[in-house]
């Protein structure tokens, strides 16, 4: 019989508070095969790990079970410790008695009894665990970045600079993301375009970066190191290899389409580039709004394009790429104003959101940087800024803080004052949050020196009265009701994940949290990795954040990819399917259930075999095999049976 050691962690008081850890250790001693059991305050600490290593040697243990937190957190830590002490890593198992026991139960007696059964379940498994060796697999050293905002651009540049090839896929026709829409950026007020465009150009020119804009992910299969990705290159109806970006077609196009880049404060033609500094600077035809596509007549752009780049017959193209690692940097959007009922649901004129205000402030925007309100072009003398529009409101909108709005609203008020000296900005806020280097100072200066009036309280209602947009609110510091007849209202709407992200994560099979932002493998210690190997996350797609944080995260994600690519090969989990030649009845049912074509009929042997490089270890074939010939390593049917029995507290 194997000699098994059981180590029960207190996790400070996290486990010990609801689970009697000493009793768990005592009970473990009575379990079959358990030769040693002990509890310890922090198993994952160095002394905790040293204890495991020491006891493995002293007690001549063949396997260990650590009863502690979720295996997602420390399985690799303890497997490494076990290996150091001479054990095969697959002889180390984690019993999750924290997330799935002590944290979710209150009755100490019942939680302890459950913890004992959890440990017993793992003891039963461990008795039959085999020692395994990881299966080496090759790595395709080429990365894919999805999303060409500042996060994606930064990650792509970092990876490319280290010498690896990279494909940057962007949905729109140009990279740049939201940062391209911003005027000046807090807290230093440097012009957003001026710091962004050089990076866009660098990404466009880098020999290791292949830009695929106006493209989307169609399908992803495979696994870390060896993904197969199908990318849809949407028809732009312009042959970009011919187009020299002269822009004549755009001048002549008679169609008028609201510019999404300018937050519908301006229009462009049906053939357009979203903004003049676009990379690549090539137009696309918006099929839904093109007069020719709608009515069969026009083709003006074709006539003026001397080099014949316009191609109305162009079709979507699917390209296939072999990829080793994927960074998801799909960014954010903001809660649409029509969703905010008490703020006029988008029906009250001159109520705009922060991004629209950025466009009004931008020197390259629709008003060339003059603040003019949309309804009549008047320069507003009183502006009300409303923070937390849809944020921190769990009942009706989003429960979380969007993090950047306090800062950009102050920035907005400040930039407005710089342009309209006699103007009066008011800011309604719940709290002012200025965590960040130089942020508190930025806010402090604005409040003291610039004559911005901060009103602590929520806005209850916004409505139109004549040519004024009236704001009703309360100042909770003085208890007064406040009414401001404003010329313009700017809502700091909640940052939400890009709507297409939900569909994308289904294709990638990675996780999002309750608010739709991408989930990290560990909230503190693995912030740029997805739980699923080979996927990394960066930028506002992971949660609301500003540019400095976005860039830091993007470089961190790039670094993870570079470190992955620096290895010669990867190691695949060997807990996969295998076939007992003597039992296989050759019914071949397993071939039909395997999602990866990992099973094939071996003519010579006359049985079905498993292709180890392709098997992902889902176990579907094992459940399907009627002869019991197919088993999964370290999760055989007999292991499962004894685990079930143990989980029920039986012998």
């Amino acid at each position: 019989m194997k000699r098994i050691g059981v180590f029960v962690c207190h996790c400070g008081i996290n486990i010990a508070m609801t689970v009697d850890v000493k009793r768990v250790a005592e009970e473990a001693m009575n379990m079959p095969g358990v030769a040693y059991a002990q509890d310890y305050i922090y198993m994952c600490s160095e002394p905790g790990q040293a204890l495991v290593r020491e006891k493995i040697k002293e007690e001549e243990l063949d396997a260990v079970i650590i009863a502690a937190c979720s295996p997602n957190l420390h399985e690799s830590t303890f497997r490494a410790a076990a290996e150091e002490a001479g054990l095969n890593p697959w002889q180390c198992e984690i019993a999750n008695i924290r997330e799935q026991c002590s944290w979710v139960h209150t009755n100490r007696e019942k939680a302890t009894s459950k913890a004992i059964r959890i440990v017993d379940t793992l003891v039963q498994k461990t008795i039959l665990n085999e020692s395994l060796e990881p299966i080496p697999v090759s790595i395709t050293k080429k990365a894919l970045v999805i999303g060409g905002g500042i996060a994606g651009i930064q990650a792509a540049l970092d990876i490319a600079d280290s010498g690896y090839k990279i494909i940057l896929v962007e949905k729109e026709s140009s990279i740049g993301g939201h940062m391209a829409q911003l005027s000046e950026t807090f807290p230093t007020l440097d012009c957003s375009q001026c710091i962004l465009t050089p990076k866009m150009v660098a990404a466009g020119k880098h020999p290791n970066i292949e830009l695929m804009t106006y493209s989307e992910i169609e399908e992803v299969s495979g696994y870390v190191g060896n993904f197969n990705v199908k990318i849809k290159r949407k028809a732009s109806f312009v042959d970009w290899s011919k187009c020299n970006g002269c822009g004549l077609c755009m001048e002549k196009c008679p169609a008028k389409v609201p510019s999404l880049f300018d937050r519908e404060l301006a229009t462009h033609g049906a053939i357009y580039v979203p903004f003049p500094q676009a990379v690549p600077n090539k137009p696309v035809i918006d099929k839904d709004n093109c007069i020719y596509f709608k009515s069969g007549k026009c083709r003006l752009c074709e006539k003026v394009c001397e080099i014949g780049a316009i191609n109305f017959e162009q079709e979507d193209l699917i390209v296939e790429e072999e990829i080793g690692a994927i960074i998801v940097a799909t960014g954010f959007e903001t809660l649409p104003v029509p969703n905010l009922v008490e703020y006029g649901a988008g029906d009250v004129p001159d109520v705009i959101d922060g991004l629209a205000f950025e466009r009004l402030l931008s020197a390259s925007g629709p008003t060339v940087g003059e603040v003019r309100r949309p309804s009549d072009g008047m320069v507003p003398k009183e502006i009300v800024f409303v923070q937390c529009a849809g944020s921190r409101d769990p009942e009706r909108y989003r429960p979380y803080c969007s993090k950047i709005c306090c800062m950009y609203t102050t920035k907005h008020a400040l930039l407005y004052k710089h342009r309209v000296h006699d103007g009066q900005p008011y800011i309604f806020y719940i709290d002012i949050r200025t965590g960040g280097k130089g942020y508190e100072e930025f806010y402090h200066n604005a409040e003291l020196d610039e004559g911005i009036i901060y009103l602590r309280g929520k806005v209850a209602k916004i409505f139109r009265d004549g040519d004024k947009t009236v704001v009703w609110g309360t100042d909770t510091l003085t208890g007064r009701n406040i009414e401001i007849a404003a010329d313009l209202v700017v809502l700091a709407t909640a940052m939400i994940p890009k709507d297409s992200t939900a569909e994308l994560v289904k294709k990638l099979r990675i996780q999002t949290g309750p608010n739709g932002f991408l989930s990290e493998a560990h909230p503190k210690l693995r912030p740029v990795e997805s739980i699923n190997s080979g996927f990394y996350i960066a930028g506002a797609a992971q949660g609301p954040k500003d540019i400095p944080e976005t860039v830091a995260q993007a470089s961190a994600a790039a670094c993870k990819v570079i470190s992955l690519f620096s290895r010669d090969h990867l190691e695949q989990d060997p807990a996969i399917a295998w076939v007992d030649e003597d039992l296989c009845g050759n019914c071949r049912i397993c071939i039909s259930v395997c999602p990866y074509d990992a099973r094939e009929f071996d003519e010579e042997k006359g049985i079905v075999i498993v292709n180890e490089a392709l098997c992902e270890g889902c176990g579907s074939c094992v459940a399907a095999c009627a002869c019991g010939a197919t088993q999964q390593r370290n999760l055989s049917d007999s292991q499962i049976r004894s685990m079930v029995t143990a989980s029920l507290g039986g012998e």
């Binding site: 997330e99 259930v593 579907s620």
Partner: protein, 139 residues
């Protein structure tokens, strides 16, 4: 009060991660289930379920990813098909099919996991223990 025993077969990628989230969110639920983690819900063999009933389980929960979200393409559809087949057999054995629950619980649905555990415990309480004869037949 009758405390039903529940065996929970959870896939690693969604439901077990959802159960972890219930923990990190410090949600509270009934302690009647013990989780057994598989890579995918499609590893669950109907025989494991029958074995659980034979060994004293009052209920079995299978937790997998939502349709379309299975980490292994379509494992959860296979699970669903196997569960519907097994339901007929359970009927024959005299085991109420409400004792076998299949739920799609994602990694983001910690609260759903907690609710399912509470609901299932209540339901099994109202159903009472399984008759011994049925347990014997489940083998």
């Amino acid at each position: 009060m009758f405390e039903p025993k529940i065996v929970c077969f959870l896939c690693k990628w969604c439901t077990s991660a959802g159960a972890d989230l219930a923990g990190t969110s410090r949600l509270k639920y009934r302690p009647n289930g013990v989780n057994i983690k598989f890579m995918c819900s499609s590893r669950v063999d109907p025989e494991h379920i029958l074995w659980a009933f034979h060994e004293g389980a009052d209920g079995v929960l299978i937790g997998g990813c939502h349709p379309g979200d299975c980490h292994y393409e379509d494992g959860n559809y296979k699970t669903q098909a196997r569960v519907s087949l097994l339901n007929r057999l359970l009927d024959d054995l005299g085991i109420d099919t409400r004792r076998l629950r299949l739920d799609w619980i994602s990694a983001a649905e910690g609260s759903k996991f907690a609710n399912v555990m509470n609901e299932f415990t209540e339901e099994l309480r109202s159903l009472g223990p399984i008759k011994l004869a049925a347990r014997e037949m489940a083998k």
